[in-house]
């Protein structure tokens, strides 16, 4: 969540993080992790319809980046949006209800998992077209520039998306217009089953920044503090009118691409190596040096309780009315509307 957590920029662009703040980062990452685990179970049990793309392993990127954003800043997200949504402050209960397809969901049940979002906290409905956000985000930045606000927009996208034309057009356009944008690439090594290294001769997405004259940086996406610091600098620069940058977070999704993916295209050794770098375990170990284990356990309990409550809220919530499907495509309706 973005509320009250160190967005005041120091000279280096990023405020220092005290222990309380670190504990909050830990709590946010854990919330995302447990959220993903829960919803997957609920999906398997048939309570959640549709499909799911989980982001376990990538929590540090969502939390680290969103931690340096204001509520009035905006993000765009992808088919894998749960972490981004919770980190940007989409209400937990409304996010859960959206996955359940309930009327109380953050998109009224019209969006679902792949289109989670909430304009009131600065998140567009997630865009499930790979690379879809990379061009749209430039318009957010352009509006901020034209309106002379100090808002910043962050575009989350995957390594796979960096091979879409949209990535290149969006980055170049943002660069040449000096737009207040951070392109945040979550390089989890795979686009669905396809390894990134088989789709690009350039091993690092960040290298591509040079082609467009913007700053590019490789960041440890398994370390929330590193993610936060890099994002803090990039956001501060964007806010100060220094134009966009491209951050590449090296990360890994612990789960399959989507439901039912048995991950036959990658080795269990590789998975084990990356799990060694679990961002939540890492931060917990760090915190345990200064904090009482009891406090950390207490945080775990709070997260579970919040999720219990959110699931219960979603279960109890009413379904949308069938006829609600037929309204909302236009701001102004002229002529006859459909009837069910």
């Amino acid at each position: 969540m973005t509320s009250g957590t160190g967005v005041e920029n120091t000279e280096r662009g990023v405020s220092e993080v005290d222990t309380a703040h670190e504990l909050d980062l830990y709590r946010q990452m854990l919330l995302i992790r447990r959220f993903e685990e829960r919803v997957y179970l609920l999906y398997l049990q048939g309570e959640i319809p549709g499909t799911l793309h989980q982001s376990q392993g990538q929590e540090a990127v969502a939390v680290g980046v969103c931690d340096v954003l204001q509520r009035t800043d905006w993000i765009t997200s992808t088919h894998r949006p749960h972490g981004h949504a919770l980190a940007k402050g989409v209400d937990l209960r409304a996010a859960m209800a959206e996955l359940f397809g309930k009327a109380t969901g953050c998109c009224g049940g019209k969006g679902g998992s792949m289109h989670l979002g909430d304009p009131s906290v600065g998140m567009l409905p997630a865009i499930a077209i790979v690379g879809g956000g990379n061009t749209v985000v430039t318009g957010l930045g352009l509006a901020f520039k034209l309106m002379r606000t100090d808002q910043v927009a962050v575009c989350f996208f995957g390594d796979g998306a960096s091979n879409e034309g949209a990535f290149h057009e969006g980055l170049n356009f943002a660069a040449v217009q000096h737009l207040p944008i951070v392109f945040a690439c979550e390089n989890n090594l795979y686009g669905a089953s396809t390894p990134f290294h088989e789709t690009s001769l350039v091993p690092d997405v960040a290298t591509r920044a040079a082609a467009y004259g913007v700053r590019g940086e490789i960041v440890d996406g398994m370390d929330v503090l590193a993610a936060r610091e890099a994002a803090g600098r990039a956001v501060a620069e964007a806010r100060a009118g220094d134009g966009p940058s491209l951050l590449e977070f090296k990360t890994y999704r612990f789960a399959g691409h989507s439901r039912g993916d048995v991950r036959g295209y990658r080795s269990r050794d590789e998975e084990a190596d990356w799990k060694e770098r679990d961002p939540i375990v890492r931060l917990r170990e760090r915190l345990a040096l200064t904090l009482d284990e009891g406090i950390l356990d207490e945080t775990d309990t709070q997260v579970e309780a919040a999720l219990d409550e959110a699931v219960e809220f979603a279960r109890q919530s009413p379904l949308p009315r069938p006829e609600d499907a037929l309204t909302g495509a236009y701001a102004t309706v002229i002529g006859r509307e459909a009837t069910p």
Binding site: G109, T199, P322
Partner: protein, 348 residues
């Protein structure tokens, strides 16, 4: 409910996914110029395409002919078109029909126009398979966008509903010298989604021997005299189920699967409409500007005086697809809605 297909008898029953795989394998064996190119099509240990249609093909044909690509629809379509112009017969794959919009220029401005612009000196023999259909995936993963392409002179548009015709048409499409968009419904593959397709038997008899089914030919799935119903994919099966119910009320529907939307088999459809005097069209594509509108216009032009009642359409309502099942079911043409359209047509 059974998927009635070509020859109804025969032991060898395949799903659409299996039939398509067989068609591709046969064509790749037949002609070394045929190759597959797309996202996640042949990664070892991968998915065999988004719907498993290509599973096992890399083992037989190798990575030279089953080409995994970056997520770059413009490049995939462009590469397929360019290779086709040089005499190859590519089968590009973009995973979902919703992603066709990523390469509209390649399809509409290049593939469709090369033959005409070159005064017939060039052709673009490629087949682009496009999975469509509502399956609880929301606004960007469930569209049935076939009508956009019915509007494009130079393209051919096929829309299959069962394994027999899927195989026969895909083989014809690969050998066709024009660019063919080949629409398949996600709930009808038979690889997943059996439950979502309402417990339907998703297999059909597919003969062992090689066969082709021609592009541009419709099939009458159920003979009847009261009303002609033209429907595709899930709407076809819903129409067939509605027809069974209506038979109890003495309404005998003649249900036609057009199979090719561009060019339409006017002969079969007009003959039926002239016989029944009534027409209902059902499709999951949205209503306004859907291919049903084109069919209705043609029937109005050519068969108006045979019509005893206004033409009726049952299509998806003109909204994006919502994800919540209760709303989604409202948007797509249900069996009840198709039945009501038929009843209304028969009242007039």
């Amino acid at each position: 409910m059974t998927v009635a297909a070509g020859p109804a008898n025969g032991e060898r029953r395949l799903t659409i996914a299996e039939a398509l795989r067989e068609a591709i394998a046969e064509e790749m064996r037949h002609d070394e110029k045929v190759f597959l190119i797309g996202e996640d099509v042949g990664v070892p240990g991968g998915f065999g395409g988004a719907f498993g249609v290509y599973l096992g093909l890399t083992e037989e044909f190798g990575h030279d002919r089953i080409i995994d690509t970056p997520i770059s629809e413009k490049a995939i379509a462009g590469a397929a078109i360019g290779a086709a112009l040089m005499g190859m017969r590519p089968i590009p794959d973009l995973q979902y029909a919703d992603f066709l919009f990523e390469c509209m220029d390649e399809l509409v401005n290049q593939a469709a126009k090369m033959r005409y612009m070159s005064n017939g000196k060039l052709s673009v023999p490629m087949v682009l398979r496009c999975p469509v259909g509502t399956a609880n995936r929301g606004a960007q993963h469930g569209q049935c966008p076939e009508s956009y392409f019915v509007h494009v002179p130079g393209l051919k548009v096929v829309c299959v509903s069962d394994a027999y015709h899927a195989k026969g048409l895909l083989k014809s499409a690969v050998r066709d010298d024009d660019p063919v968009l080949f629409f398949e419904h996600k709930l009808l593959y038979g690889s997943k989604g059996r439950e979502q397709a309402g417990g339907m038997d998703l297999t059909a008899h597919v003969p062992e021997e090689e066969y082709f089914f021609p592009i541009g030919k419709a099939v009458v799935k159920r003979a009847g005299t009261s009303v002609t119903v033209v429907a595709t994919q899930m709407s076809l099966y819903r129409a067939l189920a509605a027809a069974e119910e209506l038979a109890h009320d003495g309404i005998e529907c003649e249900v036609i699967d057009p199979l090719t939307l561009l060019p339409l088999d006017e002969e079969t459809i007009f003959a039926s409409v002239r016989k029944t005097g009534r027409l209902v069209i059902a499709h999951e594509d949205t209503l306004t500007g859907g291919w049903g509108a084109e069919l209705a216009a043609r029937v109005a032009e050519e068969c108006l005086y045979s019509l005893q009642a206004p033409i009726r359409r049952a299509a998806s309502h003109d909204v994006p697809l919502p994800v919540a099942p209760v709303m989604e079911q409202t948007v797509v043409p249900s069996q009840a809605r198709i039945k009501a359209a038929i009843q209304r047509c028969c009242e007039g």
